[in-house]
Symmetry: C2
Subunit: 160 residues, 2 copies
């Protein structure tokens, strides 16, 4: 009866919400990265295509800020997307430091396919949860994320 199956974790570890979070995230990441890989893409690809589609032609720096991607990774990812003709990289005449990134029709089509892939994957991920539970999970995670995005300042004005 006692299920001491030689792989039950220490009670201390099971009690850590941080561990639940990171372990669930690892599996989630594997699932999502795998589904995107089957479609020939990565999270960076999808993020930048989405940003280019939603925020029109924009600089690499702006797209990177919006997606939370590092400048270095933006460069590499735009290289890959441009090589597949999913975005175009052209100099910005108004500010010659910048490249203007524009999504192409092929990029828009690819984005649509990836939208479908990701919608399926979210469903696969959240399969054991009811719609209400899915909403609650998203809400709780959003609270944590926004709380830890702003390091110190509480609500209201910063004391002078």
């Amino acid at each position: 009866m006692t299920p001491v199956s030689d792989d039950t974790p220490p009670a201390r570890l099971q009690a850590l919400t941080s561990r639940l979070l990171t372990r669930t995230a690892t599996r989630t990441h594997r699932l999502v990265a795998g589904r995107l890989a089957e479609a020939g893409a990565t999270r960076y690809h999808y993020s930048l295509l989405a940003a280019a589609a939603e925020f029109g032609p924009a600089s690499q720096a702006e797209l990177g800020r919006r997606c939370g991607l590092d400048r270095s990774d933006v460069v590499a990812t735009v290289n890959e997307l441009a090589a597949q003709d999913l975005v175009r990289r052209s100099p910005d005449p108004a500010d010659r430091r910048r490249n203007t990134i524009t999504i192409t029709p092929a990029g828009t089509r690819a984005l649509g396919r990836l939208d479908a892939v990701l919608a399926d994957t979210q469903d696969e991920l959240l399969a054991p949860l009811s719609p209400e539970e899915r909403g609650e999970l998203a809400r709780l995670l959003t609270v944590l994320l926004t709380h830890h995005d702003r390091p110190d300042p509480g609500p209201g004005e910063p004391a002078p």
Copy 2:
């Protein structure tokens, strides 16, 4: 009024629960690893100390299985713990392939200190959530984790 602050993410990205999970986990991991580092430890150290304390003297393989650690990482981590005299590594006379890992008194004291550090860190992590919300978050994550730990088989007996 419109907060188009140049870093609002694409709507598609904000809609992804997978993204919420992985981003929250990244920040969580940073927080936990940082607090453990201040105490001179890592997640692997804590995991193995906890397993050694809770499951008595045991082989490296068993401790690794219980903690979800790779055999390679167990070797390296036990090296580090043994160098600090937090565990002892001795040959198992009953099965000479194995090393028996035993926590030392110093290891038990270190584990106690790390317990306190991690309790504080969980509180820091979950600060914006009520006790009920903390429980609900842990429950929802557990459902997801156990669902995706078992790849295919549903509840009940596997069809013959």
